[in-house]
């Protein structure tokens, strides 16, 4: 008898893993995404911000916020699902992605700059 109760408990403990979001969460996520998509497109298409760097920073910031919105509202990310293992693997992936992206851009940018043939390069020893 105890065995049955134990396994039933176990199943019950596992069934909440696929915590589906509520209709409210989906709708909030959707409208936030609409807003966070429309603003960047408007910024670029209208060219309302003259400074290109500022526009770029705004675009990246809004993309980052929208990714978090999707993660929370659509993918139902939280620190509790699967005893925190989904969050752990996500953090690990984000670190690796950060290293790959920033490392590639950094190294290749410097390579490009140093390989550039400038006139005073020929005078260098």
């Amino acid at each position: 008898m105890t065995v049955t109760t134990h396994s039933a408990d176990y199943t019950a403990g596992h069934s909440d893993q696929g915590a589906h979001g509520s209709r409210k969460a989906y709708l909030i996520g959707f409208w936030l995404s609409v807003l966070l998509t429309a603003i960047p497109f408007y910024l670029v298409m209208s060219g309302i911000v003259q400074n290109r760097e500022a526009t770029g920073v705004l675009l990246v910031a809004m993309a980052a916020v929208q990714i978090v919105v999707h993660m929370v509202c659509f993918l139902h990310m939280n620190g509790r699902s699967e005893n925190g293992w989904t969050m752990m693997s996500l953090i690990f992936t984000v670190i690796i992605v950060g290293i790959v992206l920033s490392g590639s851009l950094w190294v290749m940018y410097h390579l490009n700059v140093n390989m550039m043939l400038s006139p005073d390069m020929s005078q260098m020893p």
Binding site: Y26, F74, T93
Partner: protein
């Protein structure tokens, strides 16, 4: 040479004595999540490649000559709408409503098809203008990144149709709900990748 860990007579035991019962499919969601994370790395590499090569035009066309932001905005709308309709399909599946699950799944698949269709039309347009993947490093990396995403969406549509057949045959049994849940993660993940694509490839490309 044979290594044996069985050491009868003493207390050394190298296996769990009382193996507790695992619910069927109890590890599926975590496994699928780890697959998605590996897919994330794949896209990160393609993004890095694009980031490095995106200004190497080889005297060919630049983003400003090629991209039409209205098309991209339309495409983004399609993908975003398909995300929310998939959410509705999941909610219906949770409530055990099979007909409405099937309805929202087919709506999602249609939005997905619209997305792939618009993207293919854009590609055809570019290739017709001579902006083929062979033209420059920028275009090679552009086609590699964007069409990998497009391929993912296409396979997602195949998966949606497969799931619809499964649900029709067996109903909303736990196994089918689990499959729909995996597909939900996959579909929303593709939307997240698309956020990166439209921001870094299209919008940032137009700023240059």
């Amino acid at each position: 040479m044979q290594i044996s860990f069985d050491n009868f007579g003493s207390e050394r035991v190298f296996y769990l004595k009382d193996e507790h019962e695992h619910a069927e499919g109890g590890s599926t969601m975590l496994g699928f999540w780890i697959y998605l994370m590996s897919d994330c790395l794949l896209f990160a590499i393609l993004f890095a490649t694009y980031g490095v090569l995106s200004t190497n035009y080889a005297a060919g066309p630049a983003p400003k000559d090629l991209f039409d932001l209205w098309t991209v905005a339309l495409n983004t709308t399609m993908l975003l709408l398909s995300s929310i309709t998939y959410g509705f399909a999941m909610l219906s599946a949770d409530e055990g409503k099979q007909r409405s699950t099937q309805f929202w799944l087919i709506v999602t698949a249609l939005f997905g098809l619209a997305f792939v269709g618009i993207e293919l039309r854009e590609f055809a347009h570019m290739i017709h203008d001579g902006a083929t993947p062979q033209r420059s490093a920028f275009l090679s990396s552009f086609f590699a990144l964007v069409s990998t995403h497009g391929l993912h969406v296409s396979f997602g549509i195949v998966w949606i149709v497969t799931s619809m057949v499964q649900v029709r045959m067996h109903g909303l049994i736990p196994a089918n709900k689990r499959r729909l849940m995996c597909l939900s993660l996959f579909w929303h993940f593709l939307d997240i990748v698309w956020i990166g694509v439209f921001t870094f490839v299209y919008l940032m490309g137009m700023l240059r």
